[in-house]
Amino acid sequence: MNIEQLERRMQAESEILKRESGETGEPGQLRLAVMQGLEQGHSRERQDFPRRGVTFALAAAAVIVLLLFMVPQLQQPSPQTAQVQEVDWGELEGFKRLSQFDMEHESLESAVRHNYIQLIGKSVQSGAYRVTLDAVTADENMIIMLYSATTDDSQEVYGISSARLKESGAGSYLETGNGISGNEVVAGEENYHKYYGKRVFYLDRSKPFPERLEADFQVASVNPGKMGQPKTGTIMADMHYSPRLKISFTLNAKFKQYATRIIYPDERFTLAGHEVSLAQVELSPLLVRIRMAFSNEADKAWPVRREIFQAGMYTEMVSTVLGGQVELKSSTGFSTEAGYERLYSSNMLDDPESLELKIRTQPGEEDGVLRFELLE
């Protein structure tokens, strides 16, 4: 076979290959892949840049496909929400302060309240660094991981620059969600040798519930005295990193016993003049997910998407339990092919009497509030 024949063969095969690759499945899958890629990019950027000099690092929950969620999410405080009874965090007391600033606080607190927690308490050490996987909690939709890092006197913890979770069987890393972390505070002073962190990982319900997992961490640190300096964190030469520290564990099977409850409200309403429907609500111990669908195909285009989202950006999710009302904060959201979805923390373990979604179409105006009772 000469060169020309080879070239013609390859060109002929390119046509076959194009037919074989065919359509990408459902319409819009490619667009969704690009959207999710952008979203991942934002998420990874936040992981790679530990916050400096603050008691806690807030991983911004308002990421979501960047296209729709460029304006920071503002939540109007509800005057009717009250505190439910205080929970004793026991061995996890160190995480309680951090959790109060966390978007998944309600999920974690109800999990602690109902002992829906798996204490791990495994540590691994390398040189000046020691990392502990303190605990996890999980349901079909997510895993919340609580971990801590300490250093000896030779280093001060700047942050945990990477926290990942790998499913040992599949050999693949779980999708990372938001997190929060910060130095320990003792009597009002930051302890630069101890650091707490929490990270969310999303699960795909269509895949088997994970069993063996491997968490791996990388700690960022600086020399003693540097944490108090304003420029610390901006000069790469000052930063030191631990090797990847890995901890394996088996996820308690109890977490897969709570099936996700799915409701199809099919409530239609208007945002910015476009019809939207509250298409689906998912309820699980750690997550409340609402899915909105655009009624008109034309509304899925970028400028209209943004307009619709901004019109319905201000939401509240209020759960009524025996002790009063709890606002479930929105942790994040995603654009979807059909519209968009929003994730909220959950207190389903508390068996709430009601769960109300409020969408304020005009900030601060009661007249512009759409209300949906989700547990009817």
């Binding site: 080879l6 070239e7 892949a33 991942q40 050999g171």
Partner: protein, 178 residues
Amino acid sequence: MTMTRVEMRKLTAAVPQEEGDFYELVLEHSDQLYSIAYSYLRSRHDALEAVQEATCRAWIKRNTLKHPQAFKSWLIRILIYVCIDEQRRRKRTVPAAGDPMAEAGACDNTARLEMLWVLDQVKPKYRHVLLLKYYHDMTLSEIAETFGKPEGTIKTWQHKGLKQLRAIMKDRREWYEY
């Protein structure tokens, strides 16, 4: 590689920093990205994931793009690295019992896509050139821009790749005839 008018409008100064513009630019090239990914990975699902990962990496590295007019070739290069990473990962993974070894239908096309299978035996840098030129209609100039190499180097790689391909095909014929 000339830019479309849309690309120029969006890349006025440097890399598009606005997420919306970035998204639209990537989307404009997404069909070709998917097609290239599929030719490397031979799986629709994996090709979509590769496009997703390439978009993610491109966003993170957006400030490293020196010449805005090279956005497309830069993006394709990122995608190819993603595909190479996935191919390496596949080599390290032991399939579990019951796992399909390949996407349904792909194996059946071994005879029809013989050249593509044979290309796997060609030296990687030659293989990339042959794949992009003959399976994705890219010009040598575009390929050179993608890999940041002089066009003369790409021509040499094309020539050497074809020679290797010819040698492999000759060996295969002799083996079958034996």
